[in-house]
Amino acid sequence: MRLTPSTDAIRLAIPALSLTVLLAAVFWLQPRAMSYIGLNLLFNLAVPIALATIAQMLIMSVNDLDLAMGTFVSFVACVTATFLRDDPLVGVLILAGSVAVYAMLGVVIHLRGLPSIVVSLGMSFVWAGLAVLLLPAPGGQAPEWIRSLMTMKPPLAPMAIVASILIAIVAHLIVMRSSLGVLIRGIGGNQRSVERAGWSVLAARAAAYGLAGVFAVLAGIALVGLTTSADANIALRYTLLSIAGVILGGGEFIGGRVSPIGAVIGALTLTLAGSFLSFLRIWPDWQIGAQGAILIIVLALRLLLNRLEYREKRR
């Protein structure tokens, strides 16, 4: 055990620090948020965002980008609020089918050497269309079990926090500790060398996409558990939120450099930024703008810490 922190630890320290600073600011503005219920309210919507961020991270770890994340989560939400409740078997089949479609996209993108941005752009229209067909107007109802799961009140920490930690651990085990995870990140790092080492890049990419599909499906289900009903446009902003979450968490667009724990922290930071702004009583016109400013500040902080790290290394 060395005492000097590894690069991975530094990578994680920065998002963790920005989350802590933001949380401290929220508590300072509104001390009553420092309670079980307060924390639950603050982080409630973080669970689906964290799941979607992990899904996006899996895609980004093979150097691709999914622009259909938001519409796909919306589609899943619509399925959950209709089929999964009224006819669980059909619902499960549809969701399993959509995960298979995701895995297949990975295969197609790999075999034809297609740009993932365009394929996912096209798929975003497809998912949006399917969602509109399912629920032309906002409606549907969440299945009882998911509703009770999401509103559960575990001891010690609120559900939102427990779920986020659980997601981070599971994603960490899959992406950082399993051999499949190493393989997936290896593709992002150097596809050719993974190929030369005798692994099937095709299978690994399909697995990455399939896993991403699974996490995105969970995101949609969790979202409906919180909102109780669904709408074809319910999660459109998740596309950009999930990308921002991965980057805030220390991930990178290329090179297979991702961090699942960081991604969950990034998602929590983004959720908290919204609450922070409403506590600040900022002018409603500038709410969105301030969210952009927070993103910039957090990333500037990251640059600052990276510089410090660099200086340490040169010493």
């Binding site: 622009l67 050497g113 365009v118 998912w127 269309g129 969602a131 509109v132």
Partner: protein
């Protein structure tokens, strides 16, 4: 045979072919009655995607990770502020245009400042920037809908010799962009940076200056498109740029520009923009519902990229 061979290797041919097929399929249904109307509408609506698409193309050419997500917000802000300034007064048209362009320059400047000074990935930098711009637009707009000056409203909605004026504007910009890309050293520079930034730097290409100019160019084209679109649609609306986020990316890539950067082409953007509009109007003509229409649009985009793609195996 050689011509066919050469044509089939031109990256832009697929989008043109697809646009033509869809155009033909739509006309067949209506029995040729709407040929002129459809073509004019397609040219008009495609013009806006072409203008923003060219800006996006320059940015994407810079290489992986370079993308401008602030285009929709820039369009909205430029349209809103320009219309407010002109205030239905024909004499204020040029100051309005100048303001729109200045806004574009300002946004491009701030975008690149974030990318360079804070080393934020361009996607996130332009995304954060777009939040701030969007807020500024909400703040200036205040839900008002100011009409454009009469002359501009007429200009953007009428035709010259049967060709819509906005598409003529798009044509002038496209020719300029093509010239910039193919005939000037700046065009060589952005391609060089897109192919390999370290190599370009070693070769003495002013990497920062070139990237800076490119982001400014993209923002200026977006604000110009916003200005024209606001005049065309009889007033600026806060959501008027929304659909151009995905549209600008789609037309660039469907048009045959490499997503990995370093290889761009202008004619493809025309084919792809026409195609994107024609697909929607074809599906409308067939009387399909919104859901089916979206699904078909998506499937058609994917099939076009599958037919045209696979040119560079291993590319992202």
């Amino acid at each position: 045979m050689r011509i066919v061979d050469r044509l089939s290797r031109a990256p832009w041919i697929w989008s043109w072919l697809a646009a033509f097929l869809v155009w033909f399929a739509t006309i067949m249904v209506t029995g040729g009655a709407s040929t002129l109307g459809l073509s004019q509408a397609a040219l008009t609506f495609a013009a806006f995607s072409i203008i923003v698409g060219i800006g996006q193309m320059f940015v994407i050419t810079l290489g992986p990770g370079n993308i401008d997500l602030s285009i929709p917000a820039t369009m909205t802000l430029a349209g809103t502020v320009a219309l407010k300034l002109m205030n239905v007064d024909n004499a204020m048209i040029l100051p309005g245009l100048a303001t729109a362009i200045l806004i574009g320059i300002g946004i491009g400047l701030s975008n690149y400042a974030l990318i360079k000074a804070l080393r934020i990935p361009p996607i996130i930098a332009t995304l954060s920037m777009s939040f701030i711009i969007q807020s500024a637009a909400i703040w200036t707009n205040r839900g008002l809908r100011i009409k454009p000056p009469n002359f501009l409203a007429d200009f953007t909605t009428s035709t010259t010799l049967g060709v819509p004026n906005v598409s003529l504007v798009a044509l002038v910009i496209s020719v300029a962009a093509w010239f910039l890309l193919e005939k000037t050293v700046y065009g060589r520079w952005i391609s060089a940076i897109g192919q390999s930034m370290p190599a370009a730097r070693m070769a003495g290409v002013p990497v920062d200056g070139t990237r800076f100019v490119t982001y400014v160019l993209s923002a200026v084209l977006a604000s110009l498109a916003g200005y024209l679109l606001a005049c065309f649609s009889g007033g600026a609306a806060l959501n008027m740029g929304t659909e151009y986020l995905l549209m600008s990316i789609a037309v660039v890539v469907l048009g045959g520009t490499a997503v990995a950067g370093g290889d761009s082409n202008v004619p493809g953007i025309w084919g792809a923009s026409l195609f994107m509009f024609l697909v929607v109007s074809m599906l409308n003509t067939y009387g399909l519902g919104a859901g089916i229409r979206l699904i078909m649009t998506g499937l058609i985009i994917i099939s076009v990229i599958m037919l045209a793609g696979g040119r560079q195996p291993g590319a992202r």
